[in-house]
Subunit: 208 residues, 2 copies
DNA sequence: GAGAATATAAACAGCTTACTCACATTTGAC
DNA sequence: GTCAAATGTGAGTAAGCTGTTTATATTCTC
């Protein structure tokens, strides 16, 4: 449980002290998320982010030591958000259909702001530095919540973890695909995604 | 400047006539797929591909007029492959479980060679040029096959297309996720993916 | 052996990139 | 109002990478 520091750059070169600078940092992270989502990692340059944030490039480097620290900040913010959605949906015991509905609604909401950010963060953006640990920890807690839900609605203790993996990646796949087509808020899609979750978790639809 | 924009380049600058050159072209496409899958679009450079193919950069430009033509060739080959898998699985009438099993097996096989190529092709690599039409046509035929399967195993004619979309993107999501973790050939994952498909298509697991 | 097909890699020109620095402006405690 | 600290600026830089050409060498077919 010891924090592996390696020789990664510090998260922030300087802590914002006044309200002004807090807003600046926030604007940079927000713009970064937008750029990352809309153009992808290949087009993610610090200059572009600064411009999108309406801030000079110098300001960016006043707080973020380098490009990767910025990506890390974006990643942290997004992952925290997504985690809270799942945690909330899987929190108390509730009927399966309600769980599915809330999960779908929350996930869609979380992806509506920056539709493809999640996938870009997972697939394209590098995690070589200090983000490695945070990344893994996110994935672990992410799966935990799904596993809790699976365990709640399925009798068999057998394949809980695998099922959690399958369920989560299926949901992500559908949402990611819908995001690419700008169909995130098509109601029939939301309904069918709910059906998919329910069907899989009800799941006596199978014999060997 | 006299150069026209949006003038699509020909697919091949020169057709390979001897066995030697056919092998060269094949090696280039294969290496390109590998680079695209392993490093992503951001790191996809013609020089890198040539090196990975064990071929000089000059040879590459002898057959491919530019970078995009190369990506197109890779895309065409991969999409053809995937399409044939689905077509085969959804061809004749067969029990649901068999369809699911064959589909899963085929899709996993298709992704085992270059695990993340599919997603990179869909998400990162640009399709601005002449590939636009091919891309759309692929997606259309892709969905058609899924829709045919959905129609075959579900009574209601209602949401066939949406269901096809949901099903296909769910399957892709699971496979993509598994590919990222090098778990493509974990048998319990294959089994659970099959269950997911069956459950969704059996799908009386839901009431309003 | 002629001539076509194929392969080679050094070279180039242009562009983008991450990042710095010297200076300007704003803030807030006193 | 003063002034030091906090914050903001953006032209500039140096380095690297890009796609592509070209002049030359090798290998094939006949």
């Amino acid at each position: 449980m010891s924090t592996r520091i390696a020789k990664s750059a510090p998260r922030m070169r300087k802590e914002p002290r006044q309200a002004r600078s807090v807003a600046t940092v926030e604007a940079i992270i927000e713009a970064g998320a937008r750029v990352l989502s809309e153009i992808g990692w290949a087009g993610f340059s610090t200059n572009k982010v600064a411009e999108a944030a309406g801030v000079s490039i110098g300001s960016l480097y006043q707080y973020f030591p380098d490009k990767l620290a910025l990506v890390d900040a974006i990643r942290r913010r997004h992952f925290d958000h997504v985690l809270s959605v799942i945690r909330e949906a899987a929190a108390e015991e509730k009927p399966l259909r309600q769980f599915a509905r809330e999960l779908v609604r929350g996930m869609i909401a979380a992806h509506s702001i920056h539709p493809t950010l999640h996938q870009v963060l997972l697939d394209e953006a590098p995690g070589d530095r200090g983000s490695r640990a945070a990344h893994a920890s996110f994935q672990a807690r992410y799966l935990e919540h799904y596993a809790a839900a699976v365990a709640q609605y399925r009798r068999r203790r057998k394949d809980t973890e695998t099922m959690a993996r399958v369920l989560s990646s299926a949901v992500e796949g559908v949402i990611h695909n819908a995001a690419r087509r700008n169909m995130l808020d098509a109601p029939e899609l939301q309904k069918q995604l709910g059906e998919l979750i329910c069907a899989y978790l009800s799941g006596q639809g199978a014999r060997a």
